[in-house]
């Protein structure tokens, strides 16, 4: 029983310590990035003139996008970059997407369309789109994402200034804010995604680009072996491949893209479970390559990912022990585990997260006016939302382990929020 007490105490220390330490790390990384890179930079809607404007090919994989296509292309037609084309890849859509894309190609000279005769999945759509693309710089967006008019300029500027960059991840901003879930994710994308990407850019390796807004050098993708058709999360997979091939990946916060996120619990659950499973699948695939090639610079992000999964399991174990301890105190003697209702340690964690949110809002204020309002809604993250993240991480591991390497990634019709 003494060993169980020690185990329970160790579990509690880890369950508090890991997110507490990492929260301070992300905050420090976000502030350092702001200080070093962003402080003297122009605002996103005021990019400088570039020495060169190479052709940029925007890859737009579409699967049943008839409701979104007009809006997506309306945003593209407002791009403030002189040399671009869109390669829209229709991946076996069953609705009117094919006709709409052909019609757009007639109306917009920059639009080219690739129809895949059979549905192949997003990764294959991107591979085929890259083959058809004329530009060396490829920008990937989703069929329901609205690209900011200056995003291409910011991507190109960064590539021109750094020959070792193989890919850039842009700054996705959430459009739909009708419900609690939508508003909560606005704060989450700033305080979690934004700060993590800034910190990771400082030490030079990034866990993943955002598939909804990212840019690549074609040459780097060729070195990396392009996207994997079996990948559940093509963006995580390709980020690791690029870095394993020796290219760097970084965050460009001024390359904005306005995206739709789920606003139902079911939609959110499906999305986060896919992210967890896909992340695990990609890391499992990358691990032997990382060890064989001695790519030790990836070790920090690898270690952090493994720790985050161990943490999720530790939380479930601690909560289960706490429940057993509360229901059957005569079995365990001294209390074990912990409760889902925050006590002293939980409250410190919640306050740390709120501080992290406040810092992220300060850092992000230049990209979105009124972002401070999202602070009201972030309270749900430390109180409830982390449970969803923990549950998806716990389920993601066995699902990734059981998934066959031959299974192709498929399109999932997303919940696109409330209009």
């Amino acid at each position: 029983m003494e060993a169980l007490q020690d185990f329970s105490a160790g579990l509690a220390v880890f369950c508090f310590g890991y997110p507490f330490v990492m929260a301070w790390y992300w905050m420090a990384g976000g502030l350092l990035f702001r200080l070093m890179r962003e402080r003297h930079e122009p605002l996103p809607d005021d990019p400088p003139t570039l020495a060169d404007y190479p052709l940029v090919s925007i890859l737009l994989p579409c699967h049943n996008e008839e409701d979104q296509a007009e809006e997506t292309f309306a945003a593209l037609s407002a791009l403030q970059y002189p040399n671009w084309e869109v390669v829209a890849i229709n991946d076996g859509s069953k609705d009117r997407t094919a006709e709409m894309l052909d019609d757009l190609a007639r109306r917009m000279p920059q639009v080219r369309v690739v129809h895949l005769a059979q549905n192949q999945g997003k990764s294959t759509a991107l591979i085929v789109g890259a083959m058809a693309a004329r530009g060396e710089i490829l920008v990937g967006i989703d069929g329901d994402a609205l690209l900011d008019p200056h995003a291409l300029t910011w991507f190109v500027r960064r590539f021109l200034a750094d020959a070792q960059l193989g890919a850039l991840t842009g700054n996705p901003r959430i459009r739909n804010r009708a419900t609690l879930l939508g508003r909560l994710q606005v704060g989450e994308f700033s305080s979690v995604v934004g700060l993590i990407k800034r910190a990771q850019t400082i030490y030079g390796t990034v866990f993943t680009v955002s598939g909804v807004i990212c840019a690549f050098r074609k040459r780097a993708l060729a070195d990396a072996g392009w996207w994997s058709p079996a990948a559940l999360t093509d963006d995580v997979e390709v980020t690791w491949r690029l870095q394993l091939a020796g290219w760097r990946v970084a965050f460009e916060p001024k390359a904005l893209c306005w995206i739709l996120m789920p606003e139902t619990l079911k939609g959110l659950w499906r999305q986060r479970l896919r992210w967890a499973e896909g992340g695990m699948q990609s890391v499992l695939a990358a691990t032997p390559v990382m060890l064989r090639r001695g790519a030790w610079r990836l070790l920090p992000i690898w270690g952090n990912f493994i720790l985050s999964v161990v943490w999720a399991y530790a939380m479930v174990t601690g909560l289960a022990l706490g429940l057993v301890s509360a229901l059957f105190p005569q079995w365990v003697g001294e209390p074990l585990g912990f409760s889902a209702i925050p006590q002293w340690w939980g409250t410190v964690l919640a306050l740390t997260y709120l501080l992290q949110s406040a810092i992220s809002v300060a850092v992000d204020a230049r990209f979105e006016r009124g972002i401070a309002r999202s602070l009201f809604w972030v309270i749900w993250y430390p109180l409830v939302f982390w449970l969803l993240q923990t549950a998806t991480a716990v389920l993601g591991l066995p699902r990734a382990l059981m998934r066959s390497n031959q299974t192709r990634g498929t399109w999932i019709s997303p919940d696109r929020g409330v209009r």
Partner: protein, 152 residues
């Protein structure tokens, strides 16, 4: 198009909006309840006579620091690690001037990677509309280039 293209859900019922606001306010109240002792301390310290504890006893700073010190050590080590990398990568991160670029991916090399010849891939890139076929293993078998008018 209005920019930024935010969707505020104007068709959403006012009751649902009110529910979300009330629930979120209650969540903040719950956090306040969990922190009631700390809030009482702060209130006591800031009311008249200001900067003195009158009804509450001051916190045991040594005990609090004792609880958090091991974690603060990890935080300090990681922040130093970040500072180190920010110095190493400082110039690279601040760079904005153009520099020589890596060689472009050659058309022949791109085509060969997918079992196509250079001329075929060049044809792909001329096409406004392309219909790509696959074999049973999901590999590209052939492609038909079309003009916009042909497709219509």
């Amino acid at each position: 198009m209005i920019w930024p293209p935010l969707i505020q859900g104007t068709r959403l019922s006012p009751w649902l909006r009110a529910r979300d606001i009330v629930l979120t306010a209650l969540a903040w109240v719950q956090l306040g309840y969990l922190m009631r002792e700390t809030l009482h301390l702060v209130h006591d310290y800031l009311r008249y006579p200001i900067f003195e504890f009158t009804s509450a006893s001051p916190p045991d700073w040594a005990e609090l620091w004792g609880r958090l010190r091991p974690f603060a050590g990890f935080v300090a080590a990681l922040v130093l690690w970040l500072l180190f990398w920010s110095l190493v990568r400082g110039r690279q991160m601040r760079a904005t001037a153009p520099m020589p670029q890596p060689a472009l991916l050659a058309l022949a090399s791109h085509a060969a990677g997918f079992g196509l010849d250079e001329a075929a891939l060049a044809g792909w890139r001329e096409a406004r509309i392309l219909l790509v076929h696959f074999d049973a293993k999901g590999r590209v078998s052939h492609a038909e280039a079309m003009s916009v008018d042909q497709r219509a």
